[in-house]
Amino acid sequence: MAELINTILINNKKVEVENIQHDITLLDWLRNYHKLTGTKEGCAEGDCGACSVIIEDNGSGSSRPINACLVRLGQVIGSSVTTIEGLGCDKNPHPLQVAFTKEHASQCGYCTPGFIISGISLLNSNKKITDDTINDAISGNLCRCTGYSPIIKAIKSVSNEKIAKNNNQTINKNKKINFGNVTYFKPSNLKELKNYLNDVKDFQFLAGGTDLNLHRPIINQKEDKIICLDSIKELNSIKHFKEKIEFGGAVTIENFLEAIRFKMPELIEILQRFGSPQIRNQGTIGGNLCTSSPIGDIAPILLVLNSNLKVFGRNGFKKINIKNFFKGYRKNILKKDEIISSLELPIANKKNKIFSWKLSKRYDQDISTISLAINIRIQNNIIKELHMAAGGVAATPKLLDKLCKQMLEKHLDDSIEFAIYNLDKFIQPISDLRGSGFYRLEAMRGLLRRLQICLSQNKKSLSIMEV
């Protein structure tokens, strides 16, 4: 069978992907092969937003902003991409483009297309346009010139402006894509995945790619086989049960956030600070756990909720508890052919209180210096149940079960005093560029004090943003 031509819909035009010598990013392809130079490279690590584009998976109907620098071309074959050029030009600009001019929202202009993509994505969503939703929408975009206020004003001035929906051109979604030395396999269900697991040798899994793509070489000299997980139907499912929600491993962080928004509102602040919309729309919850970073903003939450994971591999499914998942610095128990097929988020008992805190140099779009998740039940000021897990204090996200055990059945104030006093016996964090070991320990003590206040004075979170 002749190989199907790889196509992408760019700004509503069907484009055949040709003459690709190396496996490249979507950004490089847009700029170098199509001279769509409105999309800029600012950092190539998904943190500045200058390369933002809107992507819509064929037929899914939902469009989302992503960083074109973090996505490989092979991942988006068969998708629809809207770049800044697709929104308007000087002779026929989009109202948001006009608003940016009127509000003096550009100075050097290099970041501007990215901000407009983020702004349009917000305007196209069903969210109310407020300072808060605007700040969320542009949390993945950096501007070094304006100081942001005119950008916020510009977006606010154009509410309810939606861009025309992409027409429903159908394009090929090839299952096997080859660029240079790299081959992408795109199973659409677990059965197909299993076949690939049996047939393909020496492969890597790729879910969203927001972490893995950062580490992939700019030119692949060796052969590389990538099995993409994002199109697998089962991995994208979200099932609501009475006591839990079950998420497929390839559910994006953004979809995870939206699914629990009303069921576990305590977790929204930390998830809203997870990367940026561009990252959350690309990164997956399974991928986040599998990178097994010592920080892992989601892991401490799952640890204190005692979440179970389902693992899928060549030999079928198995179930494990999150506590047994991490093995060391960026290591976990998965074998080469295994993925997290789903994870469950138990809904906490109403009698329990959940807290989830993150400390970082910057509020938005920053990696935690430390994080702390707490699941606690108190009765008459006595701690009856307590689970705490921390990120950024050890080689893996750490369940503080020994400490928690010693805090049980004591008066809240006494047990927190005990924990603060003895904390250094339970965690010995190291210094790095995100903060000193001293800071991590002291700030963790500070979070315990915060816990005490929240419980004794019935405060929800005591975030500095609420003052």
Partner: protein
């Protein structure tokens, strides 16, 4: 200025928004273009034994390596002193120094290939990686600079109190969104056209000329716009432009070098970090009688612009205060880190943060509010008006600025409310503290080196009445191009749309100064005015002939040339001038008057004028976690008679937020080997949209014509607002002060990251 009834937008704003504004990396590429990527040293210092590029031979694609040996001219681009190579030759002196360039047909291939080149090294000395070590080892890039006034020894003895201390001021990466980029096209007869993202096209021209051993006349250096500069592309852009030119020379093909973010942050200079040691002598009231101060700045591996940066730090140490006796010594330390360079404020912010920190410590010592200490130290007729470097502060506007900002910010009431808030938090065992503080500011305008204070322009009027403008300034987002276009439009009394703005080009206006020191519109605006005026006079002379009237009877108004009840359109007159063989083209030139400077003695009249400003910021702190944010900021800035209020407000807001980053979240971290660890926005955190004050009010000082004859009596605006963010740093200290009885806010170093704040709270 009343050119249009509405204030014009940035000339490129719509094209910025549609993605149609062309930056250098967006320019069409010739088929035979090669891309270059630098090979960076992996150690902080040593001797290069061999550059091994054998692995490139195995690659299935074209590559070519270029080293210092390929340089036909001098391996030298030092803007002030020699000894600053574009590629390390025998020795390298910081981790990340370019040692070679690898060319390939795509940028990806070039970057990949550059990672395969191995540098064999021999270690010589131990690297010097911090200021105190450099000072102890007397590792300096030039002789110490001494600024002296009065008799410090005597005044110190006569003071009621003496207080000593030290503090650190961190560096800052420019983080322009567009990294360094340059593209060179070789032409016939040794001609080269260099497009580069530079604030200083002339220096690129000179640097390329030196490296290629080609006279300036054969090199055209151009730039339409920069994706941000902030000083980072003043001298440093020349390094990468020269690399691309060297590649073009060797291959005789166009060569582009665009650094990726990691290489840009590793291999280009930043704001100087400083360490300050001081002893202050003062009265019981807090009047400073003597200040003995030592400033250590981190120049990095070579001098670059570190000398003038230190000069500006020393000449801004006084800020708004009359200091009776002063001995300030500036040491530009030589370390094995990347050579630091210009950054918005150019040492001024560091000098001013130093004096504000000192006043804060004095206020702590005397248990008095810092504003009381300031009040009796301000420049005034009573206290004195002579700066330590000899210039007289003729008419300080500090009182006017303060009056305005006190009113706008409701300062006194808020001080009271904040005290109550903090008490309430304390009594309820709650973790939040607030602080509020003022930052008054005086900033000297002009390059400290008088010869740099000149500007040039070239204006053509075409026979259809359209006007083409070119000048020596570069557009990096600050709105210079639209401001200068407004000046030209105002001269000819036509609409600003009629002025066509063009790329900066050394072939059109030669021997230019860097667009820096906030001087862009002062120098180029005046030069463009002069060019336009020359043409206008010729046109008016001709019109007088046509109308058979006196020159004084001719009036230009709203695109027409009017004489009594007769009139011509501007284009009709232009056409008539052409028909009658009248030149419609002129250069214009301007040099700043009145300035002189003795760099040896650090005395003179270096600044044509001062700008004034003040900010009041309110900070919030969580004493449990060290997290902080800014809640509110009021700013009053003296922009003279502003050329474009919207553009100026944009500069003020943006500069202030950049200053917040410098003082709070932007932290450069180095490994023990001298490797910069924060080489991208994932680890180097500049302010995001939530980090700006929720209430953010900026006002230009009204009725504030410049007393000096600047263009339309306007004042410079680029740099001064940045250092107003010091108000937030001081507000944080105030919040720390209220966290408990024993805290010592004066220990706070910059940047005030959560880590640093908690360190102080627990000290």
């Amino acid at each position: 200025m009343n050119n249009l009834n509405k204030i014009p937008f940035h000339d490129s704003s719509l094209r910025h928004s549609t993605g149609q504004a062309i930056y250098i990396d967006d320019m069409p590429e010739q088929e035979n273009l090669l891309h270059g990527a630098p090979v960076l040293s992996k150690f902080a210092c040593g001797k290069i034994k061999k550059i091994n590029s054998d692995k490139l031979n195995d690659l299935p694609f074209f590559t070519k390596i270029i080293t210092a040996k390929d340089i036909p001219g001098e391996n030298e681009i030092g803007p002030i002193k020699n000894g600053e190579p574009i590629l390390a030759e025998e020795f390298f002196s910081y981790l990340g120094q370019p040692v070679a360039i690898v060319l390939a047909k795509t940028n990806q291939e070039a970057i990949y290939a550059s990672s395969l080149v191995e540098i064999e090294v021999e270690f010589t000395t131990k690297p010097i990686l911090n200021l105190d070590d450099a000072y102890k080892q007397k590792s300096f890039l030039e002789d110490p600079m001494i600024l002296e006034k009065g008799n410090v020894k005597k005044e110190m003895l006569q003071s009621d109190y003496r207080l000593s201390g030290d503090f650190e001021i961190g560096g800052q990466d420019h983080f322009y969104l567009e990294t360094h980029v340059a593209m060179t096209f070789p032409g016939e007869n040794n001609e080269y056209v260099v497009w580069s993202s530079t604030q200083h096209p002339t220096e690129v021209q000179h640097g390329v000329g030196k490296v290629l051993n080609i006279p300036s006349a054969k090199i055209d250096s151009k730039v339409r716009r920069l994706g941000g500069g902030f000083g980072g592309k003043e001298s440093q852009a020349t390094i990468f432009a020269a690399m691309s030119a060297l590649g073009a020379y060797v291959t005789q093909k166009p060569v582009k070098i665009r650094l990726n973010r990691h290489n840009d942050m590793t291999a280009s200079g930043k704001r100087h970090d400083f360490k300050v040691y001081f002893t202050a002598g003062f009265t019981v009231d807090g009047k400073i009688l003597a200040l003995d101060i030592k400033l250590l700045s981190n120049g990095g591996n070579v001098l670059d612009l570190s000398g003038p940066v230190m000069t500006r730090a020393l000449t801004h140490l006084d800020n708004c205060y009359f200091i009776k006796s002063l001995k300030a010594i500036g040491y530009v330390c030589k370390t094995n880190t990347v050579s630091n360079t210009a950054f918005r404020g150019f040492g001024g912010p560091q000098g001013m943060l130093a004096i504000e920190n000192i006043l804060y410590s004095v206020s702590q010592h005397l248990q008095k509010p810092i504003d009381k200490i300031r009040q009796i130290n301000y420049y005034s007729r009573l206290n004195g008006l002579k700066t330590p470097y000899g210039q007289i502060v003729k008419n300080p506007r500090i009182e006017r600025v303060l009056k305005e900002i006190y009113k706008l910010s409701d300062y006194k009431n808020r001080i009271r409310n904040i005290k109550e808030f903090n008490l309430n938090q304390k009594n309820n065992n709650l973790p939040f503290r607030k602080g509020i503080a003022l930052m008054p500011a005086k900033f000297g305008i002009s390059f400290n080196k008088p010869s740099l204070n000149q500007g040039g322009a070239l204006v053509h009027v075409y026979s259809d009445g359209s006007i083409r403008l070119n000048h020596g300034g570069t557009e990096m987002g600050q709105g210079l191009f639209i401001k200068v276009a407004q000046v030209v439009a105002e001269c000819f009394k036509v609409s600003v749309d009629q002025i066509h703005i063009t790329s900066t080009n050394t072939a059109e206006v030669p021997n230019t100064s860097a667009t820096a020191a906030s001087s862009g519109s002062d120098l180029n605006g005046m030069a463009a005015w002069n060019a336009s005026n020359i043409i206008k006079n010729r046109m008016v002379d001709h019109a007088a002939k046509l109308f058979k009237k006196n020159k004084k009877d001719i009036i230009l108004n709203d695109g027409r040339i009017v004489c009594g009840n007769k009139s011509l359109s501007f284009s009709e007159l232009a056409f008539s001038c052409w028909e009658n063989r009248i030149s419609l083209s002129s250069t214009g030139y301007y040099k700043t008057p009145k300035i002189y400077w003795d760099q040896g003695k650090l005395k003179g009249h270096p600044y044509f004028y001062f700008t004034w400003g003040a900010a009041i910021s309110e900070a919030l702190l969580d004493i449990n976690t060290g997290e902080s944010r800014i809640l509110r900021a009021n700013i009053v800035q003296d922009c003279g008679n502003s050329l474009n209020e919207s553009i100026d407000i944009g500069q003020i807001e943006g500069g202030f937020v950049q200053g917040l980053g410098w003082l709070t979240c932007e932290e450069l971290c180095f490994s023990q080997e001298g490797k910069l660890l924060t080489t991208g926005p994932s680890t180097y955190k500049l302010p995001g949209s939530r980090d700006i004050p929720k209430v953010f009010n900026v006002k230009l000082l009204e009725n504030a014509d410049n007393e000096e004859k600047t263009i339309f009596r306007s004042k410079a605006v680029g740099e001064p607002p940045l250092l107003l963010a010091i108000s937030h740093f001081l507000a944080l200290k105030e919040a720390i002060k209220d966290s408990s009885e024993e805290t010592k806010p004066e220990l706070l170093n910059s940047p005030a990251t959560p880590s640093e704040i908690l360190r102080v709270l627990k000290a």
